[in-house]
Amino acid sequence: MNRGTFFRFAAPSIIVMSLLMVIPLLMAIWLGMQFMTFANITSPQFVGLRNYIEVLQDPRFWQSFRFTALYAAIVVPAQLVIGFTVALLLDQVSKFIRGIYLSIFLLPFVIVPIVGTLMFKQLFEPSGLMAYLYQTIFDTRFYYSEMSVKALVIIHGIWYVTPFALVTYFAGLQTLSQDLLEAASMDGATRWQKIRHIVLPHVRSLTIFILLISIMDAYRVFDSVFILTQMNPIYKANTIMTYTFQTAVTVQRLGKANAMAILTVVGIMIVLIPFLIQSYKEQLEER
C-alpha cells in the first residue's frame, strides 16, 4: 500500500483522534495554567505554573495517590492469581459447561460500573445480605468506616476486573501446545512442575499485557469510588481521579483540576514509556 492510500484510508480516524484527543490534551495543559472557577469561567486568569506546583504540594493529592497505589497493589496481583487459577480450572471442565461458566464469570466485567457498584453497595447496606452475614459471624454491626469502605472499594475492584484476566489467560491456555505437555508427562513431570515450567513461561507475555492494562485501569478508577465513598472526606478513600473530579466540581478550582489531570498523565507516561519504546521496536521488526 502506498503512502497516499494509507492516509486516505486512515484520515477520518486520524482527524477524529487529533481533534478530540491531541488538541484537548494541549488545551488541558494550557487550562492548567489558568486560575479558573465557575464564577470566572469565561475570563480566566493566567497564573503560569502555580497550579501545577500547588498540586504537587497538596497533601490530599498525595493521599489520594497513596490510596490509588494501594488499590493497584492489591487488585492487580489478586486478579492475576485468581484469574490464572480459575482459567486453569476451567480448562478441566467440559466444553459445554465451560461456555456457561464463562458467561457467568464475564458478567461483573461487562455491566455498567455504576450499576455494579450499586449492586455491591446494596449488599452492605444495613438491609443487605453481606451486612447480615457480617453481623452473624463477627457479632458487631457492619458500619462504614475508613477501613471498611477502603476494603469495599478494593474488593469491588477485584470482583470487577478479574474476569478480564480470567478470559485472557483462558484464551492463552488454549494455545498451549499439547505435544510439549505430553513430552513432559513422559519425562515424569508432575502437574505442579508442568505448570511452573511450561504453562507459566507460555503465558509470560500475556501476564505482562494484563499487568500493564490493569495498572493503567487502576490509575483511572472512578465510578466505583464515586458511588461507594460519596466523596466523604472521612473515609480518606479518594483516588486520583475522584480527587480531580472533586477539585473541579466541589472545590470549584477548574484550573487546578486540569493541572492535576495533566500531572496524572505525566505519571502514567513515566510508567508507560519503556513499554511504548519496546512496542515500537517490535512493530518495526514486524515490518
Binding site: 500500500m1 484537548p24 464469570f105 455498567v112 488454549q174 508507560l272 511504548l276
Partner: protein
C-alpha cells in the same frame, strides 16, 4: 493439560468453580431480589428470601401511569418482539434476501421503541433508555466505520507513520478521562453542542479509537494480502477490494470490536454526566438513586440496576464467544 482423574480432585474443581460463580453472581442475585420487594421487606435487617413479590418498583420507574389494558399492550409488544427475533434468527432460511430481512427487523425495533410512548404513558427512565440506545448505536457505527478503514490501512502499510500512529494511540488509550473532559466541556460550550447526542457520540468515538484501531488491525493482519491483491488484479481499486472481499471475511473480528465499543458507550458515566444536562443516559440516570436522599431509592435503585443490566445480559448470552475471542485476540497479539 490432561484432566485431573481423581474424583476428589474433580469434585473440588467443580466446587471451586461453583463458589467463584456464586461470588460473581451474588450482587446480581441480591439486587434482583430487592427490586421485587416492597419497601418494608427490603429494609428489613434480616434478609427476607420468601416474600410477596411486587412489580411496583419497576412500574414507578418506567411508567407514569399504569394503563387500563396494560396486559393487552404487553402481550402485543411481546408478540412483536418475538416475531422480530424469529425473523432475525431464521433470516438465512427465508426466500427473501437476508440483508432485506435485517433491515426490516431493524426498522421493526425502531418502530416498537418509537411506538411504546404512544401506547403507554412512560416515565423519564424510558427516555434515558432511548438516549442510551441512540448514543450506543451511534458510537458503534461511527467508531467501527472509521476504525475499520484505519485498522486495515495500518495492517497493510509498511511505513514509519503507521508505527508512530499506533504507538501514539497506545499512549492515548492509557490516559484518564478527566484529562479530556474539561476541554471537551469547553469545546462543547464554544460550539453550542452541549447536551446533544452528537457531542457525546463524537467524544466517545474519539476516546475509543485507539482501542478500536489496535484490535481491528490485529484482526486484519490475520487476513493474507493475496486476497485483495488478486481482487485488485481483477480491476477493483483498493477501496472496492476492501469492501467486497475483506470485510465479509472480517465479520467475526468486527463483531468482537463492535461489542467492546458497545460496552464502552453503554457504560460511560463521566463523559455523559459532564457533557449533557438533560439528555442523560442510563448510568447517569441511575446515579440519581445513589445519593441517599430517600429510603425508597433502595428498591428503585435495585429495579433500575436490573433494568440497565438486562440488555447487557442479552448481549453476553448471544455474543459470548465473540467477547472471549475479542479479549483473546487483544491479548495474544500483544
Amino acid at each position: 493439560m490432561e484432566k485431573v482423574k481423581s474424583p476428589l480432585g474433580r469434585l473440588s474443581i467443580h466446587l471451586f468453580l461453583i463458589l467463584f460463580a456464586i461470588y460473581s453472581l451474588i450482587p446480581f442475585f441480591w439486587t434482583t431480589l430487592q427490586s421485587f420487594k416492597t419497601l418494608r421487606d427490603a429494609n428489613s435487617r434480616t434478609p427476607i428470601f420468601f416474600f410477596t413479590p411486587t412489580w411496583e418498583n419497576y412500574q414507578t420507574l418506567w411508567l407514569r401511569t399504569v394503563p387500563e389494558n396494560g396486559a393487552l399492550i404487553a402481550y402485543f409488544l411481546m408478540l412483536a418482539i418475538v416475531i422480530l427475533i424469529c425473523l432475525l434468527l431464521f433470516a438465512n432460511y427465508m426466500p427473501v434476501r437476508s440483508s432485506l430481512i435485517y433491515g426490516f427487523v431493524f426498522l421493526g425495533f425502531v418502530a416498537i421503541l418509537w411506538g411504546i410512548p404512544r401506547l403507554v404513558e412512560v416515565a423519564k427512565f424510558y427516555e434515558y433508555f432511548i438516549n442510551t440506545i441512540i448514543v450506543t448505536v451511534g458510537t458503534v457505527v461511527v467508531s467501527i466505520s472509521i476504525g475499520c478503514l484505519a485498522g486495515y490501512s495500518l495492517a497493510r502499510y509498511a511505513g514509519y507513520a503507521g508505527v508512530v500512529i499506533l504507538i501514539a494511540a497506545l499512549g492515548f488509550r492509557a490516559l484518564p478521562r478527566l484529562a479530556f473532559i474539561l476541554p471537551y466541556y469547553w469545546i462543547g460550550s464554544a460550539t453550542n453542542l452541549l447536551d446533544t447526542h452528537l457531542l457525546v457520540i463524537l467524544t466517545l468515538v474519539a476516546v475509543n479509537q485507539p482501542f478500536a484501531i489496535w484490535m481491528l488491525r490485529s484482526f486484519f493482519m490475520d487476513i493474507p494480502r493475496e486476497l485483495e491483491e488478486s481482487a485488485m488484479v481483477d480491476g477493483c481499486n483498493r477501496l472496492t477490494a476492501f469492501l467486497r472481499v475483506i470485510m465479509p471475511i472480517m465479520w467475526p473480528g468486527i463483531v468482537s470490536t463492535a461489542l467492546f465499543t458497545l460496552l464502552l458507550a453503554y457504560n460511560e458515566f463521566l463523559l455523559v454526566r459532564l457533557l449533557t444536562q438533560t439528555n442523560w443516559t442510563l448510568p447517569v440516570a441511575i446515579s440519581r438513586f445513589t445519593g441517599g436522599e430517600d429510603p425508597r431509592h433502595l428498591t428503585l435503585a435495585a429495579a433500575a440496576a436490573v433494568s440497565a443490566t438486562i440488555p447487557i445480559i442479552l448481549v453476553i448470552l448471544f455474543f459470548q464467544k465473540n467477547l472471549v475471542k475479542g479479549l483473546a485476540a487483544g491479548a495474544v497479539k500483544g
